[in-house]
């Protein structure tokens, strides 16, 4: 039995690796994730660069000298605003412009509320951070002056503030990074599906289409040995795809300015090992289910269509997780795909996990594989599968 499935395994891999185009397809996909990662992080870093002083173009600087002094003291770099500032803000080359009206000084010194205008385009994500910084500075100045006026009249400023809202930002740097890094688990899980897809299509549906399944089943080898050999070959391709994706991320992460974002994600060797331990067992289940689905298809093309649809299954929880992280609960680790995405995410965020969630996730993958393989083996005894050709 052991030798027999070894024979099938070797034949399937050799056969598959000679198909240059489908191997290339299987291996290109894992590189997609890291490339997206590289581009996205560089983009984000260019938006959120913390170390850069706030550059604030001002119109009418002369109307509010003390405000200007305050802004400069708190690190803003004031420059003259260009004449076409509105179109520039719309185009995204300017983040915000401060306008100090002529009557600012008069209103201010008579004790009325003086107005300044902050011109922004709120639909531009990239300007959000600069706008926020400018607004905070202006509000701080207003509060500072307000307090002084109250003191001058012998009133404690606290009286005018019955409730003060204080924001406690719980996101550790690791968590902030993970918000963006949530794409990583998704791509790892997708690789577990993409890597073996070609082989799974060819090894069952392709065998039916070519008319080579009947001769194959004429051998005295048990059907379970045939299915196991084919499954292991699929698993091998899937595992290679997952590992390639991980290596891709490891290489790319050195070229990404994570520090500029003020964040730190764990992407060192132990974290990579943890992610491999989280996602690799999924290859077993993904490949087994792919084989099962592929057995129903009468042709390679039909199998590809079904298996592409199957790929959307990991996309769904992945998308949800990337947009709104769930409150993780133990049972979730037992759901294949969701469990792996959660695990990989937690490892990346640097959460201490312990071995139990890994074991739960792996056990559920093994259970799914066993079920799918059993059904596939049963299908090979059915006449409509063995003889029903496309």
């Amino acid at each position: 039995m052991k030798r027999l499935f070894g024979t099938v395994f070797r034949k399937e891999l050799r056969d598959h690796l000679r198909d240059r185009r489908s191997v290339l397809t299987a291996l290109m996909f894992p590189l997609l994730g890291p490339v997206v990662f590289l581009v996205m992080f560089n983009l984000l870093a260019s938006w959120y660069r913390q170390d850069r002083p706030l550059e604030l173009p001002v119109i009418g600087r002369a109307h509010a000298p003390s405000l200007m002094a305050f802004l400069e003291r708190y690190g803003a770099k004031l420059v003259e605003a260009p004449a076409d500032y509105e179109s520039r803000i719309r185009a995204g080359t300017l983040d915000a412009v401060l306008i100090v009206p002529e009557d600012y000084g008069r209103e201010f010194s008579t004790g009325h509320t003086a107005e300044v205008q902050l011109v922004v385009d709120s639909s531009r994500q990239s300007a959000r951070h600069s706008v926020l910084r400018a607004r905070r500075l202006l509000e701080a100045y207003a509060r500072f002056l307000g307090d002084q006026r109250l003191y001058a009249r012998g009133i404690a400023p606290g009286l005018a503030i019955p409730v003060r809202v204080q924001e406690l930002d719980l996101s550790t740097p690791e968590r902030t990074a993970a918000g963006v890094l949530n794409m990583v688990p998704l791509f790892l899980v997708l690789a577990a599906f993409a890597g073996g897809m070609q082989l799974a299509s060819d090894t069952m549906a392709g065998e039916r289409e070519r008319g080579s399944l009947e001769p194959l089943l004429l051998n005295p080898a048990p059907r379970s040995a045939v299915v196991t050999g084919k499954w292991l070959a699929t698993v091998a391709m899937a595992a290679v795809a997952v590992l390639l994706t991980l290596v891709g991320y490891l290489l790319v992460v050195r070229r990404v300015p994570l520090e500029d974002l003020g964040v730190k994600a764990r992407f060192d060797a132990p974290a990579a090992l943890g992610m491999a331990a989280a996602v690799l067992p999924l290859c077993l289940a993904a490949s087994a289910v792919q084989m099962w689905v592929s057995t129903y298809a009468r042709s390679f093309k039909e199998a590809q269509t079904y298996l592409s649809l199957l790929m959307t299954v990991p996309m769904l929880p992945g998308m949800v997780l990337a947009l709104s992280p769930l409150q993780t609960q133990a049972w979730m680790f037992a759901v294949p795909v969701l469990g792996q995405e959660l695990l990989a995410g937690e490892v990346m965020r640097g959460e201490p996990l312990g071995p139990l969630p890994f074991l739960i996730a792996a056990a559920s993958s093994v259970a799914v594989s066993a079920l799918a393989l059993r059904i596939t083996t049963g299908l090979l005894a059915q006449e409509r599968i063995v003889f029903g050709r496309g």
């Binding site: 030798r3 034949k11 070519r210 080579s212 001769p215 004429l218 005295p220 048990p222 063995v386």
Partner: protein
């Protein structure tokens, strides 16, 4: 030796095979002759264990194909209706793969594969990938993998279908050789000339039943016809599908 005993098979409401019994002896070429749709392929599939009979069974060298299909397959070499090859493997790799699945390995397997390549006269195609092989070359590869384990019993479903004259001759030569080696050879065909040229014994199947079983001479005698062709027509009641 292959013994078919009261084989029955229905597909839905259609009865494909109804009470087929015959014995194919060692050292004899037995032809399963019948028009298209007579139930030859279904009978063959029951003999080579991939279709389970509704009733009846068959014995391959005494091994019951229903109860012990894996063991029965060990004693069988089959050229089935489906002859699909793996386009990215060479002819030699096909034979080796099937040999390994039969439990052969090492020098014994190498020797056996070389013998077959010699026997089937496929030296010049042995190490080429099978993609783009001609029909005749494909049948040779399919025969090589069917015979790699040196089976005592050989089943061939329409082996010369779609072959040119040269390839047909090669297949006939091979069948005679297998017979001379004392193997039990059963092949099905809807071509009377094919069966007449090769068979020692003919089992005529029509509408899922055995309608005649005997040597060509016995068939002629029992129908009172001089030519084999007339004898077949008389036996199955029509000449539809028998002529080429």
């Amino acid at each position: 030796m292959i013994e078919a005993r009261n084989l029955h098979k229905r597909f839905g409401r259609v009865t494909a095979v109804e009470d087929v019994s015959f014995t194919a002896e060692d050292g004899v070429i037995t032809g399963l002759l019948g028009p298209n749709g007579a139930g030859k392929t279904t009978t063959m599939r029951m003999l080579y264990t991939l279709v389970r009979p509704d009733r009846g069974t068959a014995l391959v060298d005494g091994v019951d194909v229903v109860r012990r299909p894996e063991e029965a397959r060990r004693g069988l070499g089959v050229l089935p209706d489906a002859r699909g090859l793996y386009p990215r493997l060479t002819a030699r790799e096909h034979a080796r793969y099937f040999g390994e699945l039969h439990g052969l390995s090492g020098a014994a397997l190498d020797k056996r594969v070389d013998e077959l390549i010699d026997l089937l006269d496929m030296k010049d195609i042995a190490d080429r990938r099978t993609e783009g092989f001609s029909q005749g070359e494909r049948v040779k590869v399919a025969l090589a993998r069917a015979l790699v384990h040196g089976p005592r019993n050989v089943l061939l479903d329409e082996p010369t279908n779609g072959l040119d004259v040269m390839s047909t001759r090669a297949v006939r030569t091979l069948l005679r050789r297998l017979k001379a080696e004392g193997r039990c050879v059963v092949f099905s065909s809807h071509v009377m000339q094919e069966v007449a040229a090769l068979c020692d014994r003919i089992v005529v199947v029509a509408h899922g039943k055995v309608v005649a079983d005997g040597t060509p001479d016995a068939l002629r005698a029992s129908t009172g016809k001089d030519s084999l062709e007339e004898a077949f027509v008389a036996t199955i009641g029509s000449d539809q599908g028998l002529m080429q």
